[in-house]
């Protein structure tokens, strides 16, 4: 009797997971449709006359009509949108006016720099923010707690581009502790065979340790500046989650049983916090990927953010929208991925 109930419970438990995954996949698709709809509107509807933007105002009427048909503007909007989606799935983001290259190729060249920056920044945020958050929760009201609060407030309030400028001024121009703007010294430019596009990985693979060190010197400041926000957010959330767990009865039970405090904190409470942190880390990673635009501008970092902004000033809409779609898709995918992971790992959500 009980066995069959258990059996039943288990089967419905297993039945839940695919449904959750289907739900997440559905919202992923919906969000992607929404994202592309917005870029479609920006590309095809908002410019007063997209044909004029291509042929110029001195074109012959025949040329104008040909381009008009070529763009499919005689078709209904929905058909135009589906055609646009078809192009996207074929990897056709158009040709950049600025570089005269397919936008996709450009993006593949610029994306690794952003990825490298955002990844290192997130790692810095995780390895500094999470332990500090735990400490703040355990020593509530003591210096670590105040530090988390102050750093949190600062991280939420400071304009990163301004802080980046000041940091560059102090640590590069005045103290000379770090290397300047850019990913690498001009001297080393192009000396490593790009395999992954991530300079740290490529130079390590090539065993060019001088270049590796140089790249770290360039990376440390921008990633620290970019990481401040994630550091603040992670520390604050870790503190919040830890306090939530430490107030639970199972913690009290463990303490009453005489379990050492260290074990209570790291084995019992932190394990549960870890699950919740997955979503938070995913969120920060995604927001750093898109938030790197400003940091890249300040540090002349040749990433996707710089590519988008410089295309913007050259009215290179294909490049801007291509970049928006690529970053947007990564953003959405990381968010959904961490959400999914959370659902899979946490037995209560399951």
């Amino acid at each position: 009797m009980i066995g069959s109930q258990l059996q039943q419970g288990r089967s419905s438990l297993l039945g839940h997971v695919p449904r959750r995954i289907a739900g997440t996949a559905l919202s992923l698709v919906l969000t992607f449709v929404g994202l592309t709809a917005v870029t479609f509107v920006i590309a095809r509807v908002m410019p007063a006359d997209p044909v004029l933007a291509i042929v110029g105002d001195r074109a012959h009427q025949d040329v104008y009509d040909a381009v008009y048909r070529e763009l499919g503007l005689d078709q209904p909007l929905l058909v135009q949108y589906l055609r646009y989606l078809g192009q996207l799935f074929a990897g056709d983001l158009g040709v950049s006016i600025m570089t005269a290259q397919p936008v996709l190729d450009d993006l593949l060249r610029f994306f690794p720099a952003t990825l490298e920056l955002a990844t290192v920044a997130t790692l810095l945020g995780v390895f500094a923010g999470v332990p500090l958050g735990v400490l703040a929760a355990v020593r509530q009201g003591r210096w670590a707690d105040h530090l988390v609060r102050v750093v949190g407030l600062f991280g939420y309030s400071v304009p990163v581009f301004w802080l980046g400028m000041l940091a560059l001024f102090v640590f590069y121009a005045k103290l000379g502790w770090v290397a300047g703007p850019g990913r690498i010294d001009i001297f080393y430019e192009g000396m490593v065979e790009p395999v992954t596009g991530l300079i740290l990985v490529d130079s390590a693979l090539a065993r060019e340790w001088d270049i590796f060190r140089n790249a770290i010197g360039h990376l440390v400041l921008p990633s620290a500046i970019l990481g401040i926000h994630s550091f603040a957010y992670l520390a604050r959330m870790t503190r919040h989650f830890m306090l939530e767990q430490l107030g639970q009865e199972y913690i009290l039970t463990a303490r009453v049983k005489g379990v050492p405090e260290r074990t209570v904190i790291w084995r019992h409470a932190f394990r549960n916090v870890l699950v919740q942190l997955i979503t938070i880390v995913g969120l920060t990673y995604a927001s750093l990927l898109e938030g790197s635009v400003l940091t890249e501008t300040v540090f002349a970092w040749p990433g996707i953010g710089q590519y988008i902004t410089s295309s913007l000033f050259n009215n290179d809409m294909n490049a801007v929208l291509g970049g928006t779609i690529v970053v947007g898709t990564c953003f959405v995918a990381i968010n959904m991925g961490s959400d999914l992971l959370y659902r899979l790992v946490d037995p209560r959500v399951r």
Partner: protein
């Protein structure tokens, strides 16, 4: 004074107005004990005062160049020094506070009604309307904000209004979520049932009974979001996509001052400091308001 206090603290209010005043006064008593929240309020008040009094506390409108007075270091009579065109930086920061307030106000005026309308309707009506509206909200919630704002500005052209529009378009969704959550619980409550059984039309119930109850959570969230809005607007200004020179917008001022950082640090330093202080003020105020209005979320 004590008569007023007694009137505010009496156990049995005589009128609806008195009860309202009492509610605010009691909230203020709690709020007043929170030192950092009061500091935040003071900063925001200073911002408003600076914006209102700009014509009287500044010596110039901060836009006319005075090339004889270029790049003066901070001191008298130029507290914050002068910029590359000899304009007084203190004056420009003060006039810039008007622009910051304008941005913040305009974004709120767009975002709050939109979020409130969508959220309250979704929560109150329920069913497929709720699912559809919330899917839409989720889509906007999942959008990368800064990048989309960039794309919008690219399409609409750089400028302060377009920057505000771009920010607003990408930031209404959290308010819809909050308003929906409130409306969902309110829908079940007795006073709504009473209103319904009296035959009050749904629209009127939504507008005058449900929506007002959602406002306090929305305001708390808005205050906490203010810093983000200010930082995004300043970021767009810094990239040259927001307010255009010679408008004394803080982000644009930092961008212009960038090349003088090495020798004349004060040109970009003070506008950035202004952004930092004002964002800090809104964050402190938001934390304090949350503690007063929504004690559940306190940790």
């Amino acid at each position: 004074m004590s008569a007023v206090r007694a009137w505010l603290l009496t156990d049995i209010p005589q009128s609806r107005g008195q009860a309202q005043c009492q509610r605010f006064f009691l909230a203020w008593l709690v709020f007043r004990k929170n030192g950092s929240a009061v500091a935040g309020l003071a900063i925001v008040a200073a911002l408003v005062a600076g914006a209102l009094l700009a014509p009287w506390i500044t010596g110039s409108a901060g836009v006319t160049p005075d090339l004889g007075d270029r790049l003066r270091a901070p001191g008298l009579p130029h507290w914050f020094g002068t910029d590359e065109l000899g304009r007084d930086i203190f004056d420009r920061v003060m006039w810039g506070s008007r622009i910051t307030l304008y941005i913040v106000g305009l974004v709120s005026v767009i975002v709050v009604p939109v979020g409130l309308a969508i959220g309250v309707v979704a929560g109150y009506v329920g069913g497929w309307v709720d699912s559809a509206l919330m899917r839409l909200t989720d889509v906007f919630l999942a959008f990368p904000r800064l990048i989309l704002a960039l794309a919008f500005v690219a399409a609409l052209g750089p400028g302060l209004e377009n920057a505000v529009l771009a920010i607003a378009l990408t930031s209404w969704s959290p308010y819809a979520r909050i308003a929906r959550a409130e409306a969902l619980t309110l829908r079940q409550s007795d006073f709504i049932l009473a209103a319904r059984s009296q035959g009050i039309p749904h629209l009127r119930i939504i507008v005058s009974h449900v929506a007002p109850m959602c406002i306090s959570s929305v305001v708390v969230r808005l205050t906490l979001d203010m810093a983000g809005i200010i930082l995004t607007a300043a970021g767009l200004g810094f990239l040259g996509l927001g307010a255009q020179p010679p408008t004394p917008e803080w982000g644009a001022m930092i961008a212009l001052g960038r090349e003088y950082l090495l020798d004349q640090w004060w040109v970009p330093a003070f506008p950035g400091l202004a952004i930092l202080v004002v964002s800090l003020g809104f964050n402190l105020l938001g934390d304090g308001l949350r503690d007063v209005l929504d004690p559940k979320s306190r940790d």
